[in-house]
């Protein structure tokens, strides 16, 4: 297995270069761009689905990207336990592809939110969070119009039981409050995982908080987790 991280570029992705740079410059990790038409991901150690507006956000965010040629390979990769991280639009793609439960709805305010927010780490057993501490607060940027996480109550209860809630929006001190839940997500959910914990999706952008010169590098802690995970796994 190659030790390369792969970043998939869909038509309309705009966070692909940031994701690439976060690994290449922030972590000095081997990383490659993947075209959405590729059909074999067996050569990669971990996959990132970046943010942006894949296929113009037409129909529903992420709904068309789900049929991109690379997606069958991604399903096989995730099914084999490979670490997959969906960021913002990438998260939307993962829910549309049924690799993660739930869906992302229009923000409660109907406004596009572009700002720095705080999230609290709830599950440190995923491939993307095990270098973090439970209860740790990360300060990250968000930029989305459709980020309100939704799942029915039965699904949410099951996810809570399985520990699939990875991040929640919170105050700077880590307290989860209605005020901190700026987009109206169910149970303040900012990020989730599949049952196995290898596939994680989140609305905030860790790749945009990957250099101290640009504010902070809290995001690197998430990306670094996968590298450590692979070091243990491989």
């Amino acid at each position: 297995m190659s030790s390369h991280i792969g970043v998939i570029t869909f038509p309309g992705s705009n966070g692909d270069q940031d994701s690439f740079d976060a690994f290449a410059l922030g972590l000095r990790a081997p990383v490659r761009m993947i075209d959405y038409r590729e059909t074999d991901l067996s050569d990669y150690a971990a996959i990132v689905l970046p943010g942006g507006f894949s296929y113009g956000d037409h129909l529903r965010c992420g709904a068309i990207a789900r049929f991109a040629p690379v997606m069958d390979a991604l399903k096989a990769f995730a099914g084999a336990g490979g670490p997959v991280l969906g960021l913002c639009n990438g998260f939307q793609v993962l829910t549309e592809a049924h690799l993660l439960p739930g869906a992302l709805l229009r923000n409660q305010s109907l406004q596009f939110h572009c700002r720095w927010i705080d999230i609290v780490v709830e599950n440190t057993r995923t491939a993307w969070t095990h270098e973090l501490a439970e209860g740790e607060v990360l300060n990250l940027p968000v930029a989305h119009g459709d980020g309100a996480f939704f799942a029915d109550d039965a699904t949410l209860d099951r996810m809570e039981q399985n520990g699939q809630i990875v991040f929640r929006y919170c105050e700077p001190d880590g307290k989860v409050t209605p005020d901190a839940n700026f987009n109206g997500s169910a149970r303040s959910i900012a990020g989730i995982s599949n049952e196995r914990g290898n596939v994680v999706g989140m609305m905030p952008h860790p790749e945009r908080a990957a250099d101290p010169i640009l504010g902070n590098d809290d995001g690197l802690k998430i990306l670094r987790s996968a590298l450590e995970f692979l070091r243990v796994e491989v």
């Binding site: 129909l59 709904a63 049929f67 739930g102 869906a103 709805l105 109907l110 309100a148 939704f150």
Partner: protein, 78 residues
């Protein structure tokens, strides 16, 4: 259409707009999408079945949406 129980801020905003125009009789608004598909099929039932399949696979997200299908028969263009 958003399922019952799914938050619909768009419908809420439209309801607020109608209310402020004086249409106080409006109690609830649910905002959805309308797609017009032109299909070539031997009969309406076949077209409907195909449309239903497409709705399940792509046009609607069953996690958050419901859908209804209406068929209108058009004479083929000559």
């Amino acid at each position: 259409m958003p399922k019952i129980g799914v938050n619909d801020p768009e419908g809420e905003a439209i309801r607020g707009g109608l209310q402020s125009l004086g249409y106080t009789v409006v109690e609830r608004v649910r905002a959805g999408r309308h797609y017009r598909l032109h299909l070539s099929a031997p009969e309406a039932d076949v077209a409907r079945a195909t449309a239903e399949e497409m709705a399940h696979k792509l046009l609607a997200n069953p996690v958050i949406q419901t859908f209804v299908i209406e068929t209108v028969i058009e004479a083929p263009e000559v």
